[in-house]
């Protein structure tokens, strides 16, 4: 029982990472209606910016705030410069543009900051949380920040005019435009917010997995998985999905002997496919109804 509890808590801790990333994925999905494959690399690049600022002697929280602002601006800029010119192109061409961005950020970070693994400080410290050995301070802090972010996003989307405008622009661009919403800028804002959330996720994840240009590849995958399990239309579902993936992955690795460490990822993905077969729009997502 002790082992079980321990594994669940450890799963929740890693699940916090995935939940962060899943939240960023869902954010951009709500704003642009596509999955952004470059999301993980954007988060990684932001984390490197934070690392650089800290190296230059900025205090942690100042660097944290500055990185969020820089990432937001960069997200808006990417939408304006890279994606605006091809907004009429087919969906598949967009996906290729995301792949191009992924490649550029990955290689750029390796070029600017080297491919070696770097330590990234945690603002919460590393000791055990509340004197218990079950979960450490950083994991607890990470989970808290994720939940805080979720509440903030909920309030933003439900209770502000601009949040409503963003939802309208994503759900039905034509009608939104007729209602006087500047759909193009809403999309850019969505990119900015997704980049900012991604940067928060990156900075929280980096102390756990260490900072290097390829750190996000598998995490983004788990993030996608969490988002899809929870439902791409529901930020809360995505966070829950992220935690669920973390816990399932840990329990499968512990209790199913064949699985072991290297097969954990495959198991998590199999579970996702299974969930999708039963509920094609995720556990908390709304099924898409189209008029014929």
């Amino acid at each position: 029982m002790e082992l079980f509890l321990h594994q669940v808590l450890a799963g929740l801790a890693t699940g916090g990472i995935y939940a962060c990333m899943a939240l960023a994925v869902v954010m951009i999905y709500q704003a642009i209606d596509h999955l952004n494959f470059a999301q993980g690399e954007m988060a990684m690049f932001s984390t490197f910016i934070a690392w650089q600022l800290i190296q230059w002697g900025f205090p942690y929280w100042l660097a944290f705030g500055a990185t969020i602002v820089i990432s937001f601006a960069a997200g808006v800029l990417i939408e304006r410069v890279v994606l605006r010119p091809i907004h009429d192109a087919p969906v598949l061409s967009h996906v290729v543009a995301f792949i191009a961005l992924l490649s550029i950020f990955n290689s750029g970070a390796g070029f600017l900051w080297d491919w070696t693994i770097k330590n990234f400080a945690s603002p919460f410290g590393a000791g055990p949380f509340l004197g218990q050995n079950l979960i450490n301070k950083h994991d607890a802090g990470m989970i808290a920040v994720t939940i805080l972010l979720l509440v903030f996003l909920y309030l933003f989307f439900r209770h502000t005019r601009i949040g409503l405008a963003m939802r309208a622009a994503a759900a039905n661009p034509e009608s939104a435009r007729l209602a006087g919403i500047r759909v193009g800028w809403m999309t850019a804002l969505g990119w900015g917010m997704a980049a900012a959330i991604g940067s928060v996720a990156g900075m929280l994840i980096a102390p756990v997995v260490f900072l290097e240009p390829n750190m996000m590849l598998s995490i983004l995958l788990y993030g996608f998985a969490g988002a899809v399990v929870g439902g791409l239309t529901s930020p809360g579902g995505a966070v829950l999905g992220g935690f669920a993936v973390g816990v399932i992955e840990n329990l499968a690795g512990t209790y199913i002997p064949v699985v072991g460490r290297e097969m954990k990822l495959s198991i998590a993905l199999c579970i996702i496919v299974a969930v999708l077969c039963v509920k094609p729009s995720g556990l908390f997502g709304r099924p898409v109804v189209t008029r014929v």
């Binding site: 596509h34 087919p90 290729v96 792949i99 290297e262 999708l276 077969c277």
Partner: protein, 336 residues
């Protein structure tokens, strides 16, 4: 407006007095001539590279049948490529079967696998299907490394194959022979694909892509056709995988990661979605552009590749085939 009888005939589109259909034939003939000349004029290394490009083109053709003609999105075709490659490698090395027989075997294995994967995929659409196939792309290399099948797959080390020589005492070295073999297989695969797409079945596939509800109202068995397309698509990619294994003479799990799936997908879009000739351009792009990027800058190869990719998407948002369609539409004028 007066309707003169002769204007009722469909206008014939032509450039320089040659009609579109004739242009197609001329281009096809010229293309075949180039293909026939290549093994005798180029150096072995370039022959090998072009062989690989054709192999990628076959794999992209498989992906195109699924995504372009049937509207099912896949980011997991590296899995079928891997299964084809491993089928060939295991048959050659562990069972001692001649390499020629491994190609139809890989086709059969991949067809069954693809068909079975297509069944759960029926419930998924768009981005969800992309993720499920992506999961497959991630899972396969790990499964190949696992200790359960290590005896057959050679684990992380993979399997080394002996490169076949030309049979019947033909005066060709092994690179030239593999080129000939690949071209012959590719020709068969392309003719089949063209016939498939232009048949009743092909029209059913396209109808399903464009409007599944209308297609099923027309009496098309949507589920059956969709899973069958998955099977056929996997078959094409599996054949490409088997050819790739024979040509490179080596298989290892890490050659078939999702990077390969993404590369095939990029080739599909660059060549042109739902275009059969476009897949050849896609194959060339997948093979040569990363090398070009590396020659521009070693440290920033990925960034250069990304920039090239972005430029390609800006210039040809609908791929090479779309650009060609645009050019013909501009050039072609109805002639009497």
């Amino acid at each position: 407006m007066l309707l003169r009888p002769e204007t009722r005939e469909p206008p014939v589109y032509a450039v320089g007095g040659i009609t579109l259909a004739q242009w197609r034939l001329i281009l096809l003939g010229a293309g075949l001539l180039v293909v026939a000349v290549i093994p005798f004029v180029l150096k072995n290394f370039y022959i090998f590279q072009i062989t690989l490009a054709i192999i990628y083109a076959i794999a992209i053709l498989g992906l195109n049948l699924l995504t372009g003609f049937n509207g099912q999105f896949s980011l997991g075709h590296s899995a079928f490529y891997a299964i084809g490659a491993y089928t060939a490698a295991i048959m050659m090395e562990n069972l001692g079967i001649n390499y020629v027989w491994t190609i139809p075997a890989a086709a059969a294995v991949c067809f069954v696998f693809g068909f079975l994967f297509g069944l759960p995929a029926l419930r998924l659409e768009g981005i969800y299907l992309a993720l499920a196939t992506f999961a497959l792309a991630i899972a396969i290399p790990q499964a190949l490394k696992s200790t359960v099948v290590e005896h057959w797959t050679g684990g992380v080390q993979g399997i080394v194959i002996i490169k076949p020589d030309a049979p019947f005492g033909l005066p060709l070295n092994s690179d030239q022979w593999l080129y000939v073999l690949t071209v012959v297989v590719a020709l068969i695969m392309y003719v089949c694909a063209v016939n498939l797409v232009n048949s009743r079945t092909g029209r059913a596939l396209i109808a399903i892509r464009d409007h599944p509800v209308a297609a099923s109202a027309m009496g098309i068995n949507v589920s059956l056709y969709k899973s069958l397309t998955f099977g056929v698509s996997a078959l094409y990619t599996g054949v490409a995988g088997a050819l790739g294994a024979i040509a490179i003479a080596f298989v290892a799990p890490d050659s078939f990661t999702f990077v390969l799936a993404v590369a095939l997908f990029v080739g599909l879009v660059v060549g042109g979605v739902a275009s059969i000739p476009g897949t050849l351009v896609g194959g060339l792009f997948v093979l040569f552009v990363p090398n070009i990027a590396e020659s521009v800058s070693k440290g920033l190869a990925g960034a250069v590749y990304g920039v090239i990719l972005l430029l390609v998407i800006y210039l040809m948002p609908t791929g090479f085939a779309g650009l060609m369609r645009l050019i013909t539409a501009k050039l072609m004028r109805p002639s009497r």
